[in-house]
């Protein structure tokens, strides 16, 4: 077992418009992508992000060795309750996941 951050190249998140956030997990090889993809099914990631699993979109991109997740923001970007205008910190939540 390892933490996600130890085996992938980069994890980033960003707004995808004011109402969505997207997380990109860059793996360096098909083997790492396969391992990460197997360890991160929708249900597990949704649970970790405290989301309804039906709201989490998941994309495997073998040509880029990328696993991508997108989900509606809990609070619209920049609204009163929002704490992270660019949605760039939420990716850090996944870094310590055991894979």
């Amino acid at each position: 077992m390892a933490e996600l951050r130890e085996i992938v190249h980069r994890i980033r998140s960003k707004n995808a418009g004011p109402f969505w956030i997207t997380i990109d997990i860059f793996c360096d090889s098909p083997d790492v992508l396969a391992r990460v993809a197997a360890a991160l099914p929708v249900e597990r990631v949704a649970g970790h992000l405290r989301l309804d699993a039906s709201h989490l979109k998941r994309f495997e991109m073998p040509t880029l060795n990328v696993l991508k997740f997108s989900f509606p923001r809990p609070h619209p970007q920049g609204s009163l309750r929002d704490r992270d205008m660019h949605g760039a910190q939420v990716a850090l939540l996944l870094e310590s996941l055991e894979v």
Binding site: K14, N15, A16, G17, P18, F19, W20, T22, D24, F26, L49, R50, K57, F59, M61, T63, L64, V66, K68, S70, P72, P76, Q77, G78, S79, L80, R81, R83, D84, M85, H86, Q89, V90, L92, L93, S96
Partner: protein, 455 residues
């Protein structure tokens, strides 16, 4: 058929680019220079107020370079989403800067302004006529939400930019535009491959972000009848199949599909190969035309007026129990506000954020270490600045001295500034995520053409 070459100087005006790379791009003979002027990424304040996030002097300096590059290349220069938010006021702000520079440079230009604003009355009529479709998730747009709406803009696509270029303009200053439309417009008008036009535009929308050296800014995209080639202009910058393909992911919730006015782009079957020494060749994207023509809307509404206060807790006993302390303080504040000001809970908003504990992620935070100090940020939002300030004044002594329990000496926390409260003025929120269907792409968009610097 000759290819159509689009020179993209930077991801956004105000972000900077390498002048030498721009000169290299001009020398390579572009057919058009296209740059983005904004986005929603900086938050609702800019659309709410119709103002620019970027410094006027920086935008002016960069725009001067681009006007000179335009003159040297002898091609149109197009900027989309003027002044961050693309409201009419932001388009006119760019126009004012352009007029100043034209006078300084001694140029004579035909300048087209494309306005994307949707007046509230027109929006209401469109809503009532059923021309509005919600995207997911869509805020509710009842009359209360509409009452506070300050600016609504429609995101122009290639058709409206083509109309602006079609006026014979040397410079097009466009209101809110999709990130891709200014780049895709000319290749589409000249009959280049439609899938490639939109795909290349998406890859190029952030300038050199799709290269190995994002800060170099400038790239050239050459569109033809089967695909496109993207080439960096910056010294030492390279495009690789990975750096190019990866940009489809950026700020995009679906990495294969991109919705645009009039249809969508599907890149599922796209291929990326090394072409020239530094460039990448892309083919295989597909443009799928929609049955109805629709444009996405953005709207910002007033969320209230805000006052902020910040205190710092250093006492280890308080730091250790800060979550309980914060909860008790907040409840105490609500009681004070009700008792002293007679305000009901739903007429104002007060939030306490613990800086150094969970301030970025809130309830999602998993790591709780042992901070030696905690910032306590209070955000008070009310229907007027006077009320928000009054609430802050009421809370101020309690934020300074609130004890952990009732039976202990009164603590005093650190206030880093005087006055401890800052009135932040009006705050806004994004209030639309909808598509407006149009019978003609120019419906609601407005073009104005001026001869600037003539005589």
């Amino acid at each position: 058929m000759m290819p159509t070459r689009v020179l993209v100087p930077s991801g956004v005006l105000g972000l900077g680019f390498d002048p030498a790379a721009l000169a290299r791009g001009v020398a390579a003979g572009p057919d058009i220079i296209a740059i983005d002027g904004g986005s929603t990424d900086s938050g609702p304040f800019y659309l709410g107020t119709g103002t620019s996030k970027y410094s006027r002097s920086v935008c002016r300096d960069e725009w001067r370079y681009l006007l000179e590059a335009r003159a040297a290349a002898g091609v149109p220069l197009v900027i989309g989403s003027c002044g961050t938010c693309g409201s009419a006021s932001a388009v006119d702000w760019m126009y004012e800067i352009t007029c100043e520079l034209v006078a300084e440079l001694g140029q004579s230009l035909r300048v087209a302004r494309l306005y994307s604003d949707v007046p509230i009355d027109e929006f209401r009529r469109a809503r009532d006529a059923g021309r509005l479709s919600p995207l997911d998730p869509a805020p509710v747009i009842d009359d209360a939400a509409l009452a506070g709406m300050t600016n609504i803009v429609a995101l122009a696509g290639a058709e409206q930019i083509q109309a602006a270029i079609g006026t014979g303009a040397d410079v097009v200053l466009a209101g809110r535009t999709t990130d891709t439309a200014t780049i895709a417009a000319l290749p589409l008008a000249r009959g280049m491959h439609a899938g490639a036009a939109w795909h290349g535009a998406k890859i190029a929308e952030c300038g050199a972000f799709c290269t190995t050296r994002p800060a170099s800014g400038v790239i050239m995209v050459s569109f033809d009848e089967t695909g496109f080639t993207v080439t960096p202009m910056g010294d030492g910058a390279r495009c690789t199949p990975q750096s190019v393909a990866a940009h489809m992911l950026y700020e995009n919730s679906d990495p294969w599909i991109l919705h645009e006015p009039g249809g969508h782009l599907d890149v599922t079957a796209a291929s990326y190969t090394e072409a020239t020494q530094d460039g990448v060749r892309v083919e295989g994207a597909v443009w799928v035309e929609a049955r109805d023509y629709g444009v996405k809307l953005e709207g910002a509404r007033l969320a209230g007026y805000q006052t902020m206060m910040l205190a710092v807790i250093r006492d280890p006993r308080y730091v250790e129990a800060v979550a309980d302390w914060a909860e008790r303080l907040l409840a105490h504040c609500r009681e004070l506000i009700a008792a002293s000001l007679g305000l009901l809970d739903d007429t104002y908003n007060i939030e306490l954020r613990l800086i150094g504990v969970d301030s970025a992620l809130g309830g999602l935070e998993r790591d709780h270490g042992s901070p030696v100090e905690v910032g306590v940020m209070l955000l008070i939002t009310a229907a007027s600045q006077a009320v928000a300030s009054e609430i802050a004044a009421l809370i101020n002594p309690h934020l300074l001295h609130y004890p952990l329990t009732d039976d202990e000496p009164m603590p005093t926390f650190a206030f880093p500034v005087s006055p401890v409260h800052s009135d932040r003025g009006a705050v806004y929120e994004f209030a639309l995520n909808h598509v407006l269907s149009l019978s003609d792409p120019m419906d609601g968009f407005r073009l104005r053409v001026d001869e600037v610097g003539h005589g």
